[in-house]
């Protein structure tokens, strides 16, 4: 169960009191997490963890040191503050560092479910058992994972910032398999009551059975329908390669030098909003700065990137509330991304394809050329040939090497429905897409 705001504040206050730095920041994370994992249609791993982690950033002039501990004794809390100060004293001045942030009003956001927080091992096992039973009835094999977690975060600093947030997540996925095919489904929600294990199993089983006995298809350029699982991957790469101020300022982002210019199709808009009603709310970042809505692409035009206080200071602008914990060197990263929905149903998108490929999800995607957002990866868990507007055969999985940036200039249709998915950090909400001329560069044997 969560420790509660006052306990986390007490920990933070003790550390702030012990610190001799000019400025001090304390992050306290508390996490109770349980995961029931299954394979070959039974539970083979079943785990639970409890942790409280503390990170302290000490600032002396323009010198910064960071120390962390998970030991909560008075001696340890004093020790982590002293360690951060000692590290700072050994530092060199960082002239780009301005200050820790000052307090700013934070909108509270509901992201906690009592039902999720109290979910038991038996309840998780029952959901998994139902999924495994559905698999057995369909003569397929189930694998997957069902996780429920309760997390708390408190950020406090010596300038008066104190921000507290608690959230629960229920996160479930399943892969259904036969010898020659597989299907996948996942869901994420704040309230575990919104997770329907049977519907999840039905979706994955249907895909699995339809993907059996795939034919080989020559790689090449094909129009594609990308399901939401695959579209979420596109946003992940944009997030960490291009939409953060670090890459932007270092000229490593395709947005660098191109704000205000058209960089994608007019039917593409992408933004980040940690307080939207249809995400898993995230009201502030790891510096305690309130989240701002940030437009990355509006009707195809490049608009902006996310900032933390450090990178905002280098441009004399303001943090957008996307800072990562001190000590991480990736720079600010989006955490609640959205891709604008369109008006098409998946049936309409399918009917519009003369010859193409239906892609359920991508796997093992990696950047080949970051500036072009050129990515390689595999299709997985349900890939189908489309001919004259109908799915005519399952196909063996293909490798693609495709610029996601170019692909977003080739979006012909966007789905009217959206779904929520885990992202590289946080979550993203995306529709399905029909994209013209996707480059498949290879194929595998299954």
């Amino acid at each position: 169960m969560p420790l509660g705001e006052s306990d986390l504040k007490s920990i933070a206050d003790r550390i702030l009191g012990a610190s001799t730095a000019d400025q001090t920041e304390v992050l306290v994370f508390s996490n109770d997490s349980a995961l029931t994992r299954f394979a070959n249609s039974y539970i083979h791993q079943n785990v639970e963890l409890t942790s409280v982690d503390i990170s302290v950033r000490a600032v002396i002039g323009k010198k910064i040191g960071v120390a962390a501990t998970n030991i909560l004794s008075d001696e340890s809390l004093r020790g982590v503050a002293e360690r951060a100060v000692t590290l700072a004293r050994h530092q060199k001045d960082n002239d780009d560092f301005q200050s820790l942030p000052a307090p700013a009003p934070i909108r509270q956001a509901a992201a906690f479910s009592e039902r999720t927080a109290k979910y038991t091992p038996e309840e998780r096992a029952d959901v998994v058992a139902a999924i495994c039973d559905a698999a057995r009835r369909a003569n397929v094999t189930a694998a997957g994972a069902f996780k429920t977690s309760t997390g708390e975060m408190a950020v406090a600093n010596s300038l008066g910032v104190f921000a507290y947030h608690q959230e629960t997540t229920a996160d479930i996925s399943t892969t259904m398999m036969v010898d020659s095919g597989s299907g996948y489904a996942d869901r994420i929600a704040v309230d575990v009551g919104d997770i329907d294990g049977k519907a999840l199993a039905t979706e994955a089983i249907d895909k699995c059975l339809r993907s059996a006995n795939p034919i080989a298809l020559e790689p090449g350029q094909y129009d594609v329908i990308l399901e939401e699982y695959a579209v979420a991957d596109i946003l992940d790469f944009l997030a960490y390669l291009a939409f953060g101020a670090q890459a932007f300022q270092e000229q490593r982002s395709f947005l660098s030098g191109h704000l205000g210019e058209k960089v994608m199709g007019e039917n593409v808009s992408i933004w980040d909003d940690g307080l939207a009603h249809d995400t898993i709310a995230n009201p502030f970042d790891f510096e305690g700065v309130p989240k701002q809505r940030v437009e990355f692409i509006t009707d195809g035009v490049a608009k902006g990137v996310v900032y933390d206080t450090y990178y905002a200071g280098k441009e004399d602008t303001s943090s957008t509330g996307h800072g990562l914990p001190a000590g991480m060197t990736f720079g600010p990263i989006p955490s609640n991304m959205f891709l604008k929905a369109g008006t098409a149903t998946k049936e309409e998108m399918l009917a519009s394809v003369e010859r193409g490929i239906w892609v359920s999800r991508f796997w093992y995607t990696r950047p080949v050329h970051p500036l072009k957002v050129l990515v390689t990866g595999m299709t997985r868990d349900g890939t189908f040939l489309i001919e004259k507007g109908k799915i005519t055969a399952p196909i063996k999985n293909l490798r693609f090497t495709q610029s996601y940036l170019e692909a977003l200039n080739q979006v012909e249709m966007s789905g009217k429905e959206t779904s929520l998915h885990s992202a590289i950090i946080g979550v993203s909400r995306v529709p399905a897409l029909k994209i013209k001329s996707w480059n498949f560069s290879g194929a595998t044997e299954f």
Binding site: V52, I64, D95, D126, T444
Partner: protein, 478 residues
Amino acid sequence: MRELAVRALDTAGSQGASYADARVVARKSESITVRNQNVEALTADESLGFGVRVIVDGYWGFASSQRMTLEEADRVAAQAVRIARASARATGPKADIGPQEVHKDTYRTAIVKDPFAISLDDKIALLLQANEAMNKVKGIVMAESNVYCQRENKLFASSEGSFIEQELVETGCGLEATAVGEGEVQRRSYPNSVGRHQGTEGWEFIERYDLPGNAGRVAEEAAALLFAKPCPPGTTTIILDGSQLALQIHESCGHAIELDRVLGTEAAFAGTSFLTTDKLGTFRYGSDVVNLTMDAITPGGLGTFGYDDEGVPAQSMPAVRNGIFVGYLMSRETAAGLGLRSNGAMRASDWNRIPLIRMTNVSLEPGEWTLEELIADTKDGIYMETNRSWSIDDRRLNFQFGTEVAREIKNGKLGDLMKNATYTGMTPQFWASCDAICNRDHWVVWGTPNCGKGQPEQVAHTGHGAAPARFRNIRVGL
């Protein structure tokens, strides 16, 4: 630590566990990252906690905590038993971990210089010196260098009577120069990419790699890549340097021989393996010159330890002999299923994770060639160095890799610099095309400190010994 572990085992047993083990892990780490002339991260972390793993009526359960009290040991052990009983609600085969493993022992990484004894000032000065050399090169927009060290003290105790204490030390370093221009972003890394190279050694590891001495060269290569010609598409002979080959081994062999993947227990996330059990002992994985070994005993290897996290001693065994697939990385449970004994490949990334089958040091045994001889013997081809991108399918067959730099080989000589080099293939065909491997003078155990696996995800540190090697008829330039 000892008393807490014993208490947890006793409680688990009294609650109905037929098997229990407890791991107590204390870790201390220090990390310094310098970007350009700013020390962007200077962190010192400590962590302490314990995990209890049980089998109850044939089903697994695990719970963990950072509260180091006897009362918490009781609670966690009882919770692990409760979770195991819940596992029985989705019935399946009962866990069988095979014959007992009983060891009472200690192990310590052999180091020369304690990395924690080196002053922070000296560490920072080293990295600033390296970055200064990189920043001097025209075209470099970002110079980054880092050092990392960790010390882990862990205790393993089991209901079978094992009691093992280990102290494991790791040290790592790396630098990266990023050049921007000509519509390009190019990076060169040293000694390895993906952040750093790491080993189970002390500060002597950092000294060996002389970051300041190599920084200028690396930056100049990054800047030169902006103007280099792209790797042309085609089918040709390639020679891979040791660090790139290490990642090739990791992805196409190391993961493929994890027996849990083969048996389907990782299907939900990372996938399965094409090396099904019917292939053991007979399948031709590569050419006759290909010999791959799974070993946890090579000094300095990132996958080297004394005992795994099931209390099984570190050992060395072949995975591929003269091209034939002969061995898996195993746990007690998976080995028992094949009528074998575990070869000690189970490791957990932390106290709050269960052990999974992880690579130890999965290495390609060296051959007979010098690199100079190998290049001179290659009429036409491409020499590729230092990984830049990697991707492989979920059975470990179709892969595509990219390297930071490549050089044309023409008539046995290294020629033009090339950028954006990529190559692709299918694992058995690729390894079948290997016809020459460099000798032990070129052999390094490369450290991969970022191998992800499992749900919840864990990051393992693995090692791969490799010397440059040649492969024929490979598709390049995608």
